[in-house]
């Protein structure tokens, strides 16, 4: 399996999804070698064998130093910024080399960063290559796509033996924007890992204070600006409400400025990037979770919020809205409607009560084992085709 993130070193939903899925797959008896670009610390994981592209490249670099003086090894960061295209290419070479040494039946590769890796591994071994789509350039950037990334995605999607997409929403976009045949795509919805013991995070708030949470990267894709504009309409109507924006991203400075210029600073908190226990604590004190994404292939965070009995409002432009029913849904651009729904949840305790109680039942059926079974179905169909 080829990926870019793995807990505890994660930047977003991709790492969370890779962890949940691999854990469930291994419980089903699938053995996984997981190739990452680089990690600074150590990953304690019992269910996958971790390989790092940076290690392979380093050995390659030293071994061939004399015979290929022009060849310069890549210094892996495992991040998304910087010269990611070079990193993606270097990762591809390394993945090919790793593939030569390892024994495996299938190549399961996540998102565009691993396209070269997937193709290299297939080139060396002839094993089928599955492209698992967690997000597309059109989700991340709207119509201002990075052509290089788009071309890599298109190459991978066209070349792959099969495609797994995290939602019908993403499947449809893959077909429409990349011209891929729908028969080649299987939808496997993401899930959420159920943990015990949310009780210990009962945190005291000011009596009567209501907390509305946005948690995610503060980037175009996540619709932070719609959150702020809706908050502006809510603040006039509901007393003692606090809007928390947890996360970082390129739109954060603009959001802070906008909030300040509207004079709403008293009602806003920017927490920066949260992880682990901080995230759990944040969910636990929230009265409402809002995910106003412009284009969300899936969106695991609403499921996490639901685990903490937090009612959620999600944009209809999301994959997760295909599988949850006891949430309020809104078109991301409809700020008036979003504000209306936020006010409604804050004003009527019965609404939150009913939504969270019903969500508890619904969450019982949203687990990674279900996703893993569908993935194994894809594995089986591909190995049969080879036989």
């Amino acid at each position: 399996m080829l990926g870019w993130e793995f807990p505890p070193y994660i930047r977003g939903g991709l790492g969370t999804a890779c962890f949940g899925l691999t854990e469930a797959l291994s419980r089903r008896g699938v053995e996984i070698i997981f190739v990452l670009p680089h990690i600074k610390g150590e990953i304690v994981s019992s269910h996958v064998e971790i390989r790092m592209a940076s290690q392979v490249e380093k050995s390659l670099h030293f071994a061939h130093l004399n015979s290929y003086p022009v060849w310069r090894g890549h210094t892996f960061t495992g991040e998304y910024g910087g010269d990611i295209l070079s990193e993606v290419e270097a990762y591809g070479r390394a993945a090919g080399l790793i593939a030569e040494k390892e024994r495996f039946d299938l190549i399961h590769a996540h998102d565009w960063m691993t396209v070269y890796g997937g193709l290299a591994a297939r080139g060396k071994t002839g094993r089928p290559y599955i492209y698992h789509v967690h997000s597309l350039e059109f989700d991340r950037s709207g119509d201002n796509v990075n052509r290089d990334i788009f071309e890599i995605e298109k190459l991978g999607l066209l070349q792959a033996d099969h495609i797994i997409s995290v939602s019908n929403y993403t499947k449809e976009m893959t077909v429409r924007r990349y011209g891929i045949s729908p028969e080649k795509i299987t939808v496997v919805h993401n899930a959420v890992s159920h943990k015990e013991g949310t009780e210990k995070y009962r945190v005291q708030k000011r009596s009567g204070e209501k907390v509305v949470l946005f948690l995610g990267r503060i980037t175009f894709q996540k619709g932070p600006d719609y959150f702020v504009e809706a908050a502006r309409k809510v603040i006039g109507q509901v007393p003692d409400v606090t809007f928390v924006m947890a996360g970082t991203g390129d739109m954060m400075p603009r959001m802070v400025e906008r909030v300040a210029s509207l004079g709403l600073g008293r009602h806003f908190r920017f927490t920066g990037f949260l992880k682990g226990e901080e995230v759990e604590r944040m969910y636990a004190i929230s009265d409402l979770y809002v995910m106003p994404s412009v284009s969300e292939p899936f969106g695991i965070t609403p499921l996490e919020a639901m685990l903490y009995d937090v009612p959620v409002i999600i944009s209809r432009q999301s994959g997760v809205s295909e599988i949850i029913h006891h949430a309020l849904k809104v078109d991301f651009w409809n700020v008036e409607e979003l504000a209306h729904l936020i006010i409604s949840v804050l004003r009527h305790p019965a609404l939150a009560w009913e939504m969270t109680e019903r969500s508890r039942d619904e969450l019982r059926n949203i687990h990674w084992e279900r996703a893993a079974d569908r993935v194994i179905g894809v594995y089986n169909s591909l190995s049969q085709r080879k036989d």
């Binding site: 029913h325 006891h326 004003r347 019903r358």
Partner: protein
Amino acid sequence: MPAVCFYFQVHQPLRHRPFTVFDIGKGLSYEDEDMNRKILEKVAQKCYLPANKIMKELIDQYEGRFRISFSFSGVILEQLARYCPEVLASFRALVQTGAVELLGETYYHSLASLFSLQEFHAQVEKHREAMEKNFQFTPCVFRNTELIFSNSLAAEVEKMGYRAMLAEGADRLLGWRSPNYLYVPRGCKNLRVLLRNYRLSDDIAFRFCDRGWSEYPLTADKFARWVHKAGLDAHVINLFMDYETFGEHQWADTGIFEFLRVLPEKILAQKEFSFLTPSQAVEAYEAVGEIDAPEPLSWADVERDLTAWVGNHLQNDAIRALYDLERLVKERGDEDLLETWRKLQTSDYFYYMCTKWFADGDVHKYFNPYPSPYEAYINYMNIIDDFTRRVKEEKGDGRL
């Protein structure tokens, strides 16, 4: 001499306009006139007009041997008078044949029997007046909203002078006994209960177009055979359903109208069979035993209880908010306010808030104009909020 008793419910709620928190206190009306007109015109074309035409032909053809009964909510009579007077005229023509019985119910198709007996009496009285005015007919058989029934309610209905009441032939009410007889509710003396034969009724109302059903397609011949078989142990086989079954729930292309057209002939083919209206059935037969309903039951869902309208947090909250206003509204003595408050009692509004089975996308979704029960609740509560301000004569200051 077994009989078949047909009763059809005719009702359409007044759909509300989208009402956001920002609309509160602006003096807007609550109903979506445009939508109500369109829905009514559609249902009239698909169901009421063609079905009435067939009913009229059948009644004329069988010269009194084919009989049916209707229950109209006051809410639909008002809408018919306003948007589709020709439909109202065709119903009047049916009643004038003398082969049609009209039943009593609450004017607003409400749940008042559960939350305010005073309201219940007032609405039943208003409905009776509407039946007399529109059809020159005084109902002597009662059917409560969604066949909601209990011992105490039956006692109340008996006190009001009705001779019979309809109820669901639920298994938990009957046990081993058959729904095809008259019963006396526990605690009543003169009141009789006609129990819906839910198997045969739902064969028409729900399963008729179900291609996955082992008996599909249902022909009039086959259905008549089942009725005749049931007649071996029966006084009166009660087939109760929404009138919209014909042409609206089951579309014309399913063959439902052809089914209806030939069914009387097939049933009457066995000479001892007849069609009776509820009050005729009460004349013709004695009660065979007592039924006991300490808890209310209804004709909805598999549970046959009240949970389609009452029970979840949304419904309880909305109903409490509504009935808490009763005293204030009545103290104001303003007819317009009282009428508006009563219109808000129509049971459909609470049905839209039902979260049971919501995820499965079943029949509740089909009848729900809102994308989810939550939106239904939010819209309703905003209207209640607006209405509360009107009752309390509060001036909006732009804040909630």
